[in-house]
């Protein structure tokens, strides 16, 4: 199964940013919000240089980041804000463990790709991601291998979220 979208590289000085924490993604001053529809506009509002991301992002976009994306808090809002913006996937060198499972449970695609900074992809270019094979593709050509989705990740993604997946196996 493939998804496609336009790439946003979260870069600083030409390098993908490491350790983007959950307070940069979704700041703790908005934690009282429970209405998911309200969350998209605060995505990256505490990440220097990316505060206007919600205005620039379009449905289907794909985010690239460095190591340990989503480290820190267990807040689901740091996932839900991207779902509200219609972000298709996040590709990072690695993810914070809690962030990764929160994303999987909410049906947001997260793909680990150790060498993502070495491939020839420019901001704004369209790519495809093969979720099963773990391939990142541009103009029909495989650029690099990423870690394929795990079986449970794919199953939850197909069902929509953890709740729907659980109903399907009962």
């Amino acid at each position: 199964m493939k998804i496609c979208g336009r790439v946003w590289k979260l870069e600083k000085d030409g390098k993908l940013i490491d350790d983007i924490d959950t307070d940069m993604i979704y700041h703790n001053k908005y934690l009282h919000i429970t209405d998911k529809k309200e969350m998209g506009k605060y995505a990256f509002s505490n990440l220097q240089g990316w505060e206007d991301f919600p205005k620039k992002a379009k449905k289907g976009d794909i985010i690239f980041a460095g190591e340990n994306f989503g480290c820190g808090s267990s807040r689901q809002q740091a996932v839900d804000c991207f779902i509200q913006l219609g972000i298709n996937a996040i590709v990072a060198k690695s993810f914070g463990a809690i962030y990764r499972r929160n994303a999987i449970n909410s049906g947001l695609v997260v793909i680990e790709c150790k060498d993502i900074d070495r491939v020839d992809i420019k901001n704004g270019e369209e790519i495809e991601i093969d979720l099963i094979k773990g391939e990142i593709i541009k103009n029909g050509k495989i650029l690099i291998k990423a870690t394929p989705m795990s079986a449970i990740q794919y199953a939850i993604y197909k069902a929509g979220n953890l709740f729907e997946y659980a109903k399907s196996i009962q």
Partner: protein, 412 residues
């Protein structure tokens, strides 16, 4: 042979426990707290028509972050949790109780071998008593409330051997900071087991300090094998006979030796917990405020350590010092032993038990350009206000409050 996490998992699943495998894990203890608690309730109501809780006696709410509420939004979220709890027969540890991860240890709900999940990312500090704790988002926790289970990918375990014993002043926080520095990237997504003479010497409070910062090491959970003192403490609080879980001759992904023979007061400079230096190497850093508390350093040992330095002295007039015990029980002990009076006379503020500044709570926020020496676990930009957070031990925080500069606890 299995590691500690593998043994605990095998005791809680019918699935085959092997590194990388996804298993369904039975969860002994499920809690939600004020931040995300209302979202958990919302998820349950949206996805299930009634019958929301698999086992009410294993399910709890705690109010840690914004307690008592200082905004209408938080007060409303608290009330959503209270109402849901009453309707479903769930016990609440309300706004006077303290930090949930500590309350469940004190109340005897978390003890060696237990599996526990919460909306608190520092719930893995339960590794301090040899339990498996895990912080998760509201989807996971709602699912755990409803089913009593979660999915989990069995992580590899790394073994950390601390070599040597420091002779000079050191604290569990200095050890934790050194460990965050050494294990950055190495521990990401893994379980950790800690061993060494320095571990054997740690009290429960010191073990909590180290385990609480496993989240900042990127680890899933950090286990410390319970010793007699811990087992006896947990047996007393839980009223249960406890059989701890040990790893014997286990298969580790990696073993790492960290020399601690020269451990001394450490500081993590903003904006990353792994940005760790020796205090004596950072030069003069003027501070405006000090915060002692959080799930990392809000226990009695931490309060005593700061008190020994502060007692009978006055803090710098340029510094505001904020002290927040982790739980109501610790608050009472501070009251009974006279610490609160001495802190008051030194010029400090002592607040009620809670997480304080870590999640835009009440005590511990910084203003723009404000420098704060803090005993909490994270110094990310914006985490504790708009200023700069320097992570230190309670002793270093107290010494810094007296001098007005980042000062090692050994220098006073």
């Amino acid at each position: 042979m299995p590691t500690i996490i593998e043994k605990i998992f095998q005791n809680h699943t019918g699935d085959r426990v092997e590194v990388g495998e996804t298993i369904w894990l039975e969860i002994d203890l499920r809690t939600a707290r004020d931040f995300a608690g209302a979202n958990v309730v919302k998820n349950l109501i949206e996805n299930y028509g009634g019958n929301y809780v698999n086992n009410a006696s294993k399910t709890f709410f705690t109010f840690d972050c914004n307690a008592p509420a200082n905004t209408i939004e938080y007060a409303t979220n608290h009330q959503i949790c209270r109402k849901f709890a009453r309707e479903n027969g769930i016990k609440i540890y309300d706004v006077d109780s303290g930090i949930g991860s500590h309350v469940v240890i004190e109340e005897g709900l978390a003890y060696p071998g237990v599996t526990a999940v919460s909306t608190d990312s520092h719930f893995n500090l339960l590794g301090a008593v040899g339990a498996f704790g895990q912080g998760m988002g509201d989807v996971d926790i709602a699912f755990a409330f409803k089913t009593g289970k979660i999915w989990f990918e069995v992580p590899p375990t790394i073994k950390v051997n601390f070599l040597g014993m420091p002779s000079d002043a050191w604290s569990a926080k200095d050890l934790a900071l050194l460990c965050v520095k050494e294990l950055k990237r190495v521990a990401l997504g893994k379980a950790i087991e800690f061993y060494g003479d320095i571990i054997d010497s740690l009290s429960l409070d010191g073990r909590i300090t180290l385990s609480s910062m496993v989240t900042e090491m990127g680890g899933i959970a950090g286990f410390i094998t319970p010793d007699k003192r811990i087992i006896s403490f947990c047996e007393k609080n839980s009223g249960k006979k406890i059989k701890p879980v040990y790893a014997d001759d286990a298969n580790y992904e990696k073993e790492i030796d960290i020399d601690v023979s020269t451990l001394e007061p450490m500081v993590a400079l903003p904006p990353s917990p792994s940005n760790v230096r020796r205090v004596r190497d950072v030069g003069d850093v003027k501070i405006d405020s000090v915060f002692i508390g959080s799930c990392t350093n809000g226990r009695m040992d931490d309060m005593l350590s700061a008190w020994k330095i502060i007692k009978g002295k006055k803090i710098s007039e340029d510094v505001k010092m904020k002290i927040v015990p982790a739980t109501r029980r610790i608050w009472k002990e501070m009251l009974d032993k006279g610490l609160i009076k001495d802190f008051f006379e030194a010029g400090a503020i002592v607040s009620h038990a809670c997480c304080a500044g870590c999640a835009s709570g009440q005590i511990g926020m910084t203003g723009i350009d404000e420098n704060q020496a803090s005993t909490s676990n994270r110094n990310f930009k914006g985490k504790q206000g708009a200023g700069n957070t320097y992570l230190v031990s309670p002793a270093t925080a107290a010494a810094s409050a007296l001098s007005g500069y980042i000062t090692g606890g050994d220098e006073i």
